[in-house]
Symmetry: C2
Subunit: 335 residues, 2 copies
Amino acid sequence: MAREIAEQPEVIRRLLDRFDDNVARVAGVLPEALAGTVLVARGSSDNAAVFGRYLIEQTSGRPTGLGAPSLFTRYHQPTDYRGHLAVALSQSGVTPEIVEVCRQMGRAGARTVAITNDGASALAQVADVVLELGAGPEVAVPATKTVMAEFVALLAVAGAFGALPFPRSSLDSIADAVRLMVEDPAPASGLAASWTDVDHVLVTARGSLHAVALEAALKIKEAAQMPAEAISGADLRHGPLAAVHRHDRVLVLDGGGPLSADVGDLTTRLADLGADVATCSERESADLPLPPGLIDPLSAFPALVRVQQLALALAHTRGFDPDLPPGLTKVTPTR
Amino acid sequence: MAREIAEQPEVIRRLLDRFDDNVARVAGVLPEALAGTVLVARGSSDNAAVFGRYLIEQTSGRPTGLGAPSLFTRYHQPTDYRGHLAVALSQSGVTPEIVEVCRQMGRAGARTVAITNDGASALAQVADVVLELGAGPEVAVPATKTVMAEFVALLAVAGAFGALPFPRSSLDSIADAVRLMVEDPAPASGLAASWTDVDHVLVTARGSLHAVALEAALKIKEAAQMPAEAISGADLRHGPLAAVHRHDRVLVLDGGGPLSADVGDLTTRLADLGADVATCSERESADLPLPPGLIDPLSAFPALVRVQQLALALAHTRGFDPDLPPGLTKVTPTR
């Protein structure tokens, strides 16, 4: 896991070299009159899908959402997907339900894009266009570099619809920002060392960074075998705040941009409830500092490294092998 | 909360009396060429939206998903919602972000349905059609009867597109099944009494019952101030299983129907990991038994009562006032 985290700047660089090509290939299969976009995935790929969902709705100007695989694989409903783009994500490309849903959505009229690390996989074979992650073999069960690559690939899908919500030149800053984080694991180790007595973590964010919060909770569960839950800052106010207690550990991700003020208010509220709040933001005082000047959605990339480092460090402080969590395998054969 | 749980059979009966009228009113505003449906809500209304999402995709035959309010209220993106039905849910009808998103989706071309307990609320005023819950005043902060009513109202929205996935006559069984549960609080009290040492609960289900799992976790957080997380049975296999430990308390909801076999497999898997698994199903041996013969999606209704009863009983065993959780108010003014 540590080695795969370190490979990420190079993975991003390679994928960005193919960025314009990937944009053009997705643009070539878009429906003429777009009705909407649906993303389909499970696990950490589903967290990447949440990131893509915000961006694609912004660039496509049409409703975008997450598909429910069981509607196809279990309820066998005959949904008409004409006019829709379907984006199916699977790192291995072999999760049966994702392959099956992508195939069925295509038969039902959707144009389909596969995002996978294996261009020869079953998923790649059923889609109209394949964006190959090119991340190289990933061995650790908790996916890191392939998730990062999925986030980057989704920028290309969003870019196929129209201008991204940041200057084209900012793309180059992603690999640099991620490199800065990779070379600086000390903040995550420090935070993990202060959490030795923790048995439950809450992670919260809003907007694009919510995808990173979901990934933080999943990585902590997988690598550190610790219950961790991600709740969006808005949803947290609608009930779950009642279960936040004095000394509970909460990680707040602030990606800058239009949601930053609300996340700041929430941080104060959590502290008032007595929670032990750690922050990940561009502020120098943050427990997990991000490079200055990058705002949502670009700040999601360095933030992703920070939460990977935290999960890894928590595994180490608890004496667990982060690469081989109990009860899991690298490919999860859900149907 | 206890009184409002007890009122639910009557609330359902009143709403079902207006079922055909509600179906006709929604049918009257459906877009001519439907592109898709988007549901918008927060908190427990968002859990009801998850229930509606499965049903509406089945009856409408077009992609259905959950909207992200921040895209409207924070990112200010100009999405084109022509051809889409937007369903906005808010029990109070005054949550600012839900009112604002419903108004903006309507301006962007969506036909809009408001589901609310206050037919004179701001939300009711911005929608093309209002389905009033008629649940009467709800005082306890953890919503129960209004959530149940939202589930019922969503049956009418789904029914406006075409035949529901069960016979029309089955509708009458809902109130009866809920009454059976309301009159039998002992199983929930018994389970809560056996969980006195619990500090974290995992709830899992698949399909329509996933909405009930989400509501279980939210109600336990609100009423019993206990960390509780809902994870779909499929997503659980993609990582979170690593954080399930010996003696962890897991509640598995099995609503029967096409997902039952998979939920059964998962229950075995959780027990193999050493988790302390409680079940809610139509089996007589279940910790929280459901009336026999009702399958997904109808089993969601009695299951909703079972998880409300469990949250209430956990609040009592822990000495908390379920009606007034710390840090919450009845109306949550997120923007």
